[in-house]
Symmetry: C2
Subunit: 456 residues, 2 copies
């Protein structure tokens, strides 16, 4: 569960971003002295000479060779779209897309969303090279293991400091996955990890903006390019992750190295991955789950006098919005979540659309939810009682919500979720074919049979 501690915070900083933006956008052209302008010419000239002088250096050769792999575009599928782009951009865009609804997978020990960076990079590269489904799965398992083990190494201090851990470990997972897919040896794989280590992507301040899903996308792109550069001879420190001025010690004050080495190759972090049944913050899930169960018992919205909800204080702290104005706010309203569970029996992305959040019957029902704090109830649990008009009381206690490690979504649940996401984009029939291709991925001779199905 995410915590709310924050190391050394200055909440009263001046609006520096805005000040600089106005300055850059508004300052007069050549609005400075001759001396400053002369220095600008000198700076430019000196830089240009340095760039020309090193033009034939092996570092430039290696980086150029990696960049040239991206041509000619288009090379790789944008999932759910007709356009194709180069593989680095496909990694970026599929990474953005897969995290946009905040509905993807969660490694609960670190709250990393590992598939965003790793699968986005691996699939784009695999489509280009025509890799087998087995090779994709191998790269996925190992890449996720690298990202999540390194996440375990620095979590929670790293996250508490303000890093969005998905993108600050994800570039290492993506580099590992792509190195594996390219068949790099251990030396070049170490270089791929090293190049990636310099590129942690993601600040928690971005939550609520498009730059949040950019983090896994950017990490996917960075990891893919790091592997391509390493393949072509680009070098990095062989101790880039663990050295005193390497990744772990620079981005965290905690570094538990044993999290990397313990049971390596025996325990796989993908085993601790979970999937969200509901398209909102995980603290609301037990409450929604309970309301879905009430609906399944036959409780109908029209019968309801009152919903008595008892939850841990954190639930109301994070998602206590009583009157959400739109879909995004709805995701932070346990009241709307309960109403959605009772009315629709689900709470996927559609149930957080603006018009659903404002639909009169849904609004009326959410206003019947009376939430009280009870810290004897775990954050992962919820206690819900429907008090009906006729005086009956229906009670559900959810210890662990559907989607938790204790009560994982079934394969059928995952298929229903997939249809809910994909039918509107690809159509129900094509979606079923794509699902079949996913389940049989380990047997696919060429992953392009699957990516073709993911284009409308």
């Amino acid at each position: 569960m995410a915590r709310n501690t924050q190391v050394a915070a200055d909440h009263n900083a001046p609006p520096v971003t805005r000040i600089l933006a106005e300055y850059v956008a508004g300052h007069a052209s050549r609005g400075w002295s001759d001396a400053v302008d002369n220095e600008a010419h000198r700076t430019f000239l000196n830089w240009l000479g340095c760039a020309v002088g090193a033009a034939r250096h092996e570092a430039v050769d290696a980086a150029l060779a990696a960049v040239q792999v991206l041509q000619p575009a288009p090379q790789a599928t944008l999932l759910g779209r007709t356009e194709k782009v180069d593989i680095a951009s496909a990694a970026l865009l599929n990474g953005i897309s897969s995290h946009t609804f905040d509905f993807d997978d969660t490694h609960l020990k670190t709250i990393i969303h590992p598939a965003g960076p790793v699968a986005s990079a691996v699939l784009a590269l695999a489509e280009h090279t025509g890799a087998s489904g087995r090779a994709v799965l191998d790269a996925l398992v190992l890449g996720i293991d690298v990202a999540c083990r390194l996440g375990n190494t620095v979590y929670p201090d790293h996250y508490d400091r303000g890093w969005h851990i998905t993108g600050t470990t994800g570039m290492l997972g993506a580099a590992a996955g792509c190195a594996r897919l390219l068949g790099l040896d251990a030396d070049r794989t170490a270089m791929a990890l090293g190049i990636a280590a310099s590129q942690p992507i993601g600040l928690r301040e971005q939550f609520g903006t498009m730059t949040k899903p950019f983090h896994p996308g950017g990490a996917a792109r960075a990891g893919l390019m790091a592997a391509l550069m390493a393949q072509h001879g680009y070098t990095a420190s062989p101790r880039a992750i663990e050295a005193p001025r390497g990744w772990a010690q620079v981005v965290s004050t905690k570094y538990a190295w044993n999290e990397v080495t313990d049971e390596l190759g025996e325990r796989f972090e993908i085993s601790f991955n979970s999937y969200k049944p509901f398209a909102c913050g995980i603290v609301i899930h037990p409450s929604i789950d309970a309301c879905v169960q009430l609906r399944e018992r036959g409780v109908q919205p029209g019968q309801i006098e009152r919903i008595e909800l008892k939850v841990h204080s954190l639930v109301l702290e994070l998602t206590g919005k009583k009157e959400p104005a739109d879909g995004l706010q709805g995701k932070f309203s346990v009241y709307h979540g309960c109403a959605a569970g009772l009315v629709f029996g689900r709470a996927a992305e559609e149930e957080f659309a603006d018009d659903i959040v404002n639909r009169p019957d849904v609004v009326a029902l959410r206003r019947k939810v009376v939430a009280t704090v009870d810290d004897r109830i775990d954050e992962a649990s919820a206690d819900v009682t429907a008090v009906l008009m006729d005086g009956r009381r229906e009670h559900v206690f959810v210890e662990h919500a559907i989607g938790s490690l204790q009560r994982p979504m079934s394969d059928a649940d995952l298929e229903r979720k997939f249809h809910g996401l994909s039918d509107g984009i690809l159509g129900a029939e094509r979606t079923s074919e794509l699902l079949a291709a996913c389940w049989s991925l380990g047997k696919a001779a060429d992953v392009r049979a699957l990516t073709r199905l993911a284009r409308p």
Copy 2:
């Protein structure tokens, strides 16, 4: 001057990078249980559904529109080479190239090398849009101002922590410069800065590897793409730099906001930029400078009995290598630096070639250098006496080396340095034309007249 302090270091970390590299490269395909493999299928399927489901979201539209600006490649010049690549890759590669010799510019207050990230991004974009030289210079001055002011805000704590500050401020400078060049308004410029803020690039552990020059290159690419994404409507936090979980507070324990605002638009940080006359660490520069002056007074290598060198202890700590084996080690040898100054009257990249460092007359001369520590002498100074065979003593005291703010390189010095770098790549005549184009950049109607000259 860079310091050597290090916050909380663990020097005994296990070789985690190597361990993970061997694991990723060597673990057997499907070397895990059916349960793990099933979870891999579920993870992949769930991720794919999320990506397809959000495929038409405005975040994906905006990012795709930015990526599509990169097509069709080739678009932009690789300085000193015949190949052209897309503008994002050109920003990356020219950034790498310009920092490869460690011979570029230095903002001495922060030891940021500001042109690498900013000019590399701005020129690639300007070539594509056909911007004027004036627009390039405006973007360069403002972009460098943003990077260096933010550097001032967090330096030195940020650097001491282990960040390579050139790439961890440079993406903000590059974003600012490109936003300016694209004519973005303040709102979108703030978004460009915000997207860039999530992408600090660079660990000091990478020094001595190709990933060091990758840092300015990666920052150039990140800033350019951030500006393109903002132009197409991608969003970020408007307080991404200064918020408690924003860039400054996440990457540093010092954040002096007044460094952003003091004399903004009146004092320009490019005024404090300096250029290296010698292709090596700045602590050796006073000693080399003194030896060049001895040579100019007529002291010839064959006459020399002994060179008495008195320097601050830091000089020998950082560059005390007595018997450098190759060019790279030569850059960390004040002994070789002195020999080069006396034999060649210069110490550019060529004087740090492997064969020069091992040439018998150069080796013989460096062995005649007797260095002693005298901490009454400033780090920025050197006291050098040539004791000649005939008993004469020639003494030079350098208070501030050539290339310092106190004794800047003249325009003629910069031209000589440029010829030394470029003549072997572009030829002397073309190099002279390119120099003329640099000096008159502010008057150029289209920067492509200059970039054409930078291709062999």
